[in-house]
């Protein structure tokens, strides 16, 4: 069989980063190819090359064996390549129908947009995607799952040869996921080539026919799903057996440091109660959008809870702003490193010392020598790789940026550190460094909350795990009783388990 679209020998570099080197990928008509790899393995770069957003430095794109280039997104779309994106990159203020047809709206004979036909066609496409709602409402009035269905309808609206699905199920409910599977089967029957990107192995084995594995910007394996086992895939992805990855230390767990009781918010979470002990790593597991980050941010005063109390070392504390949280000794390393963590455009040392300026300065005046000393101390503990401390933090790789962000928070000498998806999107080497450091911190008596959506990380690092679902605590597990299955069940709400599910 001839591939619908084939990439051969593709390389792509960004200033200081080699994102892809000499990778190949073939997508066959009527077949689902799963693209597997860790965050940062180069999957999204590849998608952007396939959709004409990036131009490869080297390599060839073939559409039905014909060599071609995608100089613009439009060129890729014209060649029949369409993508449903990870974050539903759509237009909140425009109607659903327009979101589906923007850029290729049906026109009447005067060349004007034919809204009647547009709305009717949109309705039909939504129906095909398994969604029956009014296409004339504004997109912003839809929930996340429905926005995703709009993105799918948009992909159907062009006569696509290749459909790229970048984590399409991340925001969907159980029922919607099954409808998506049915849709994919239909697309297959229509002879479309599908590129399916997912972190969920059950999905990959359920829906994919072929696989391609990326690691650190290179292709490390491909073949038929029928010929491969889950363990093989994982091994290809991480480059070693999973069991040995986590440097968890046995730590004597001390008295309670942080007690949270009755935390609730009108729309984001409720009934959050737990204790965090000295030296403990408490994992917070859940699906994306379960309310974990929102809760953590209310703990440090970014948002206000409508009720609830926090005790720190036995004393009730009211925290209304991050500045107060830092003073109280609770710090939060946010998930969105580029937006909430690193201050790109400022040097490494200024990033590190920003929350600690009151310690390094004298009566409001900066003392650069103190700042460099503090920055050096913490960046070297985290094994930062950089040319100099006054280098712009934006010139570092993702992993090293994350080290700077963590160093920034540790330099405040907190009692409690909350790490939100601490290893998301960073390379394996940095990941291991972060994990090792986390263990070391716990051993020194710091209390750690780790929010993570990666089961191996949660299982490898946590002393205890709290699972959240739809803004509530859906399960509590001790390290000894942890299994991946229990976590997934609690997070997805598949079956009400006996252990500690809060109502």
């Amino acid at each position: 069989m001839k591939p619908a679209v084939a990439l051969e020998g593709i390389s792509k570099s960004f200033p200081g980063v080699r994102a892809l080197s000499d990778v190949s990928l073939a997508l066959y008509p009527g077949s689902v190819t799963a693209l597997v790899g860790e965050n940062g393995a180069g999957k999204s770069t590849l998608v952007k090359i396939l959709t004409g957003i990036y131009q490869p430095d080297a390599g060839v794109i073939r559409v039905v064996e014909e060599e071609t280039t995608f100089p613009t997104a439009l060129a890729a779309a014209r060649a029949g390549v369409t993508a449903i994106h990870q974050e539903t990159v759509l237009f909140d203020e425009l109607s659903v129908a327009e979101n589906i047809f923007l850029g290729h709206a049906p026109r009447n004979r005067f060349g004007f947009i034919d809204w009647k036909k547009l709305n009717a066609d949109a309705r039909a496409l939504l129906h095909r995607a398994g969604a029956d709602f009014d296409p004339t409402i504004r997109l912003r009035d839809l929930g996340i799952a429905r926005k995703h269905l709009v993105a799918i309808a948009r992909a159907l609206s062009v006569d696509a040869r290749v459909v790229i699905m970048d984590e399409p199920t991340a925001a969907l409910s159980h029922k919607e996921i099954h409808e998506l599977y049915a849709l994919i089967e239909r697309l297959k029957a229509d002879g479309k080539a599908i590129l399916f990107i997912s972190h969920k192995f059950d999905e990959i084995f359920r829906i994919a026919d072929r696989y391609t594995v990326f690691r650190d910007g290179t292709m490390v394996g491909e073949g038929l799903i029928a010929d491969v086992s889950q363990d093989d895939l994982v091994r290809m992805m991480v480059g070693r057996a999973v069991g040995s990855v986590y440097p968890k230390k046995e730590v004597a767990i001390g008295e309670p440091v942080l007690t949270v009781s009755g935390y609730r918010h009108p729309t984001e979470f409720e009934d959050i109660n737990f204790e965090l002990r000295r030296g403990e790593i408490l994992g917070f597991y859940g699906l994306v959008g379960a309310g974990r980050s929102e809760f953590m941010q209310s703990l440090i005063g970014i948002t206000r809870p409508s009720a609830g109390a926090v005790k720190l070392d036995g004393q009730v504390r009211v925290i209304r702003s991050p500045a107060e949280a830092i003073r109280a000794g609770i710090v939060y390393v946010p998930e969105e490193r580029g937006r909430q963590g690193a201050i790109i455009g400022m040097p490494i040392f200024q990033n590190v010392t920003l929350p600690s300026l009151s310690h390094t300065s004298r009566s409001g005046f900066l003392k650069l020598a103190n700042e460099f000393a503090l920055a050096r101390e913490y960046t070297s503990r985290l094994d930062l790789r950089a040319a100099s401390l006054d280098q712009d933090v934006g010139t570092l790789s993702g992993g090293n940026q994350q080290k700077v962000v963590i160093a920034k928070w540790l330099a405040t000498r907190p009692k409690v550190i909350i790490l939100d998806e601490p290893t998301k999107g960073i390379d394996i080497g940095s990941k291991a460094a972060v994990h090792a450091f986390m263990s070391e911190l716990a051993a020194e008596g710091l209390s750690v909350i780790m929010v993570s959506s990666e089961i191996p990380e949660i299982m490898g690092m946590s002393d205890r795990v709290i699972v959240m679902r739809e803004g509530r605590i859906a399960g509590r597990f001790e390290r000894a009783e942890l299994t991946a299955e229990k976590l997934v069940r609690a997070a997805a709400g598949i079956e009400t388990q006996s252990n500690g599910r809060a109502a």
Partner: protein, 334 residues
């Protein structure tokens, strides 16, 4: 992965020495431009190098530069204040009104500064309290503040300022050094220290580069921004005192269009209009350049409006040239 070739645990503080950093900076380029204009002017007109002439020339930028210092901080923090010229008008009107009631110089100064502060507070509350975009808010208060002057004054003017009041805009501290120029130098130092040597200044940069991350890092974003708008208001009040004293009268059209000249001065000084970077020495140099160009053109009898074309071209080209230069270099590298 990408920085792997760099050795760990041995990170120097800085790669470049102070000299190299200064040499490569925008400010050095401005300094060269300033010197070139200075030399050009002295060659073009025999009157240029006279100390009293030079001293006179400083009046055409000192008042704007006072505001530009505070404006630089506002713009570095990612906001903008377009209402400064209108604050000048309102503060001047308030002082003129007080003069009619027989108020004397010290109280006039207090009124000028006080009105400036109140105007800044209004901006600050609307922007940080209600979270509105500063560009629209200050376009609104720009109309509001000057509009209030128009309501009070109509097509009239206030005059009759006390003699002692004239000193702020016309007096000399020592020899050729006017009060205004001395104030300019003093404020340059104060703002330079504030922006470059204090925690507050660091917070301003942090907010301008990434407001969300700054908030997460414990910077009190709203408070810092509020203070910045207070400062621009206060500086506008101060400039109003100087300008009113220099002109000796108040019309509602006083300082019309200054907001754009102040912003131009700040941007010419190398402050990124999108926030996050810029220095006070840069703004000082830009003020000197704009002042000398105006003065030089004046000596050559070039009308003021032609001068504004020059400033407009300067504004666009100082931003465009580095971009074009970078592109050309990249093309050569390929």
């Amino acid at each position: 992965m990408t920085d792997a070739h760099l050795s760990p645990r041995h990170i120097p503080d800085r790669l470049q020495g102070r000299g190299a950093r200064i040499l490569k900076s925008w400010e050095s380029l401005l300094l060269v431009v300033a010197i070139a204009i200075f030399l050009g002017n002295s060659l073009a007109s025999p009157y240029f190098l006279d100390p009293w002439n030079l001293s006179d020339a400083t009046f055409n930028f000192t008042e704007k530069a006072m505001i530009a210092f505070a404006m630089a901080l506002v713009i570095i923090s990612g906001e903008i204040d377009l209402s400064v010229a209108s604050i000048i008008a309102l503060a001047s009107t308030a002082m003129g009104y007080a003069v009619q009631l027989g108020v004397d110089t010290p109280a006039l100064v207090a009124i000028g500064l006080g009105v400036g502060l109140i105007c800044g507070m209004v901006n600050g509350l609307l922007i940080t309290g209600l979270g509105l975009p500063s560009i629209v808010v200050t376009i609104g208060t720009m109309s509001l503040f000057r509009g209030l002057s128009f309501i009070v004054l109509g097509d009239q003017a206030f005059t009759g300022y006390p003699k002692s009041f004239a000193w702020f805009g016309q007096g000399y501290v020592w020899w050729v050094f006017s009060f205004e120029f001395t104030l300019f130098v003093l404020l340059a130092v104060v703002y330079g220290v504030l922006l470059h040597k204090t925690n507050f200044g660091r917070a301003v940069y942090a907010i301008g580069n990434n407001q969300t991350a700054a908030l997460f890092s414990g910077v009190r974003v709203a408070r810092v921004k509020f203070i910045l708008f207070l400062l621009t208001g206060l500086m506008a009040g101060l400039a109003s005192i100087c300008l009113t004293s220099r002109l000796g009268s108040t019309r509602p059209s006083i300082a019309l269009g200054w907001e754009l000249e102040v912003v131009t001065m700040v941007v010419l000084g190398g402050v990124n209009i999108l926030g996050g970077s810029g220095t006070i020495p840069g703004v000082v140099l830009a003020a000197l350049i704009m002042g000398m160009v105006t003065f030089g053109f004046g000596l050559l009898n070039v009308p003021g409006i032609v001068m504004s074309i020059f400033i407009g071209l300067l504004l666009i080209s100082v931003i465009a040239l580095p971009i074009l230069w970078q592109r050309a270099r990249r093309r050569l590298a390929h």
